[in-house]
Point group: C2
Chain length 405, copies 2
Amino acid sequence: MALVVQKYGGTSVGNPDRIKNVARRVLATQQAGNQVVVVVSAMSGVTDSLIKLAKEIHDMPSEREMDVLLATGEQTTIALLAMALHALGAKAASLTGAQAGIVTDRAHTKAKITNITPKRVHDQLNDGNVVIIAGFQGETPERQITTLGRGGSDLSAIAIAAALKADLCQIYTDVDGVYTADPRIVKDAQKIQEISYDELLEMAALGSKVMQARSVEFAKKFNVVFEVRSSFNDNPGTIVKAETRSMEDVVIRGVAVDKKQAKVTVAHVPDKPGMASRIFRAVADANINVDVIVQNVSEAGSTDITFTVGTDDLKKSLVALEKIAREVGASGVTAQDNIAKVSIIGVGMKSHPGIAAEMFEALAANHINIGMISTSEIKISVVIDLKDADKAAGVLHEKFELSKK
Amino acid sequence: MALVVQKYGGTSVGNPDRIKNVARRVLATQQAGNQVVVVVSAMSGVTDSLIKLAKEIHDMPSEREMDVLLATGEQTTIALLAMALHALGAKAASLTGAQAGIVTDRAHTKAKITNITPKRVHDQLNDGNVVIIAGFQGETPERQITTLGRGGSDLSAIAIAAALKADLCQIYTDVDGVYTADPRIVKDAQKIQEISYDELLEMAALGSKVMQARSVEFAKKFNVVFEVRSSFNDNPGTIVKAETRSMEDVVIRGVAVDKKQAKVTVAHVPDKPGMASRIFRAVADANINVDVIVQNVSEAGSTDITFTVGTDDLKKSLVALEKIAREVGASGVTAQDNIAKVSIIGVGMKSHPGIAAEMFEALAANHINIGMISTSEIKISVVIDLKDADKAAGVLHEKFELSKK
């Protein structure tokens, strides 16, 4: 008998009918001869309503009390899903995060899971129950309620799968897997059968929003194999697991496009030690994530520093940078927000030299101008004009033969 | 420094503005030099919405899961009230019933409190916090979430006051105390300053719906003095406490009217041992509470048995009775639902003989015919025609000088 952990997100449990639908799916999994543990999110919209209610009372609600408040969202879902399973004649019992033994640190609203002691989960499984656990929440060693922050329910599911040494962990969502490219941009994008943690992490970081990076990192750390699939159909999804030798046969796993990038240049920065560190310290202090960085040597004695930030952070960046530019004696700050970052990702590139050259050639052959370049061991990103982004994605998708099954 | 426990019901915390209003009241109590523990209900309407949601999924939801579901209602309120206190600059921390150490038996949806270990309440108080506790809920020794059933939040407040040895327990509600009669029926009804547990219990049992009997019984058992008062004004309420000698100076504390009564007669029951027990066993098996019982000796060899039941139970009673009437050889069952029960209550009647006679005389002088009579040590009830009920209440209220301050 295999042990399966399934996670259903807010859209999948968004109303009573959808909860019943999830119950049928869960029951089918149990009837196929498995023990089943289900992790659920709050019904879609509930968390937002609770936040709105809190804001009517306090514009900066205490994080401890936000956790007490938000934890009710998942607690509602677990009870309802248990009832839906009972309605189908199944045995089921719900557990809050705390009851399931999910212990976290004390960082309210963004807690980290530190330990799981799933004694009660085992007890309920041994009694023949489907066990339904509230995702997104846990408690501190002092029994204060905590929540895990964005993507927290995925994290709960993967952590529970690790603690239970589950045979399979399925993340049900509203997309049916990870694709070689965004199907809205690249028409013949294909669902990927298997992808490595690192590749998915790069995809996530590059704007492919299947899962939060922290959940994937957790899965990687504890070597939890999981499948991303849809709760609205029965198609097989994408298996995410540690890199295998055979994965390297596929050079490029996917193409990612991030259109929410802006480029900022600090011009004529004096060419002295410590200039870059002062500039990026100022940006970091403003709590802005910097992505691609390029430093050009320009004229004698000075240099241009260019980097990208999320478009949402552009305004804040300029405020911070104009001040520091004056202080270090740079000539000024310019910004450009009609850009995009297009990336190819694949563990195979480690063993296949010349991929960067092939990428640049393909773009050049299609008259797409490259503004900036950034690489890691398993991805190559280029910053290009926004108007070329979709075309570039299509060109690269075809170039690296991703449209083929 | 005194320790005050305050309980606010669903109407008092029904929306964000009302929650802010409660926060101001709580803060004022703290600023007057008290430690304050607040027990709250779910916002009005929330529990009903949750029940409705459950019924959409299962027509007979599991009681265990109902408790998991319903407990979210009070958990929402505690977080919001803590935030509202923070917004006023106060220190406040919320605790669920379980976190507050409220241990119950395993009777889901109607659990009894078996023990309270309020260590965390003391800890939070010692840190200078207003402590806000979710009413209506607790957990079993196995850490299963339970709820206490109707009137559960009052019970939580009184049990916590007992466990903390609080100096004062205030039950805030939408009426500002216990009255000598229903002010809608008797115009010059007066608020009662002090009432004994037993008197309030009789009032409650007789249709005056200030509090559930079980909370008053709990308060009596643990000798918790409490005050019933309104959260919408600053009027002093009614103090409920053990009977004192001075209470007996007031012969009658109040007049109660119950218009939801029906009278049932089983006619010509053979006059043999065991007949009454068979009839009332049949009624009890149908889960119907019987109130006043009268047995008339009629003709030789047979007797009429008459009793009252709640009008809601009348139909069910007749079904049960017609069957048993045939079985025991009675001649038939008749029902009458245009009746009312009017009662006078007061510990003073124990030491003042002749109260019943005074009552009957007053009714007779006003041409009100008495159908049935029932008495206890501290109350006398008469069953009369429904059309005479309000008049009877007014007559008795005046007769026993309840309109005077």
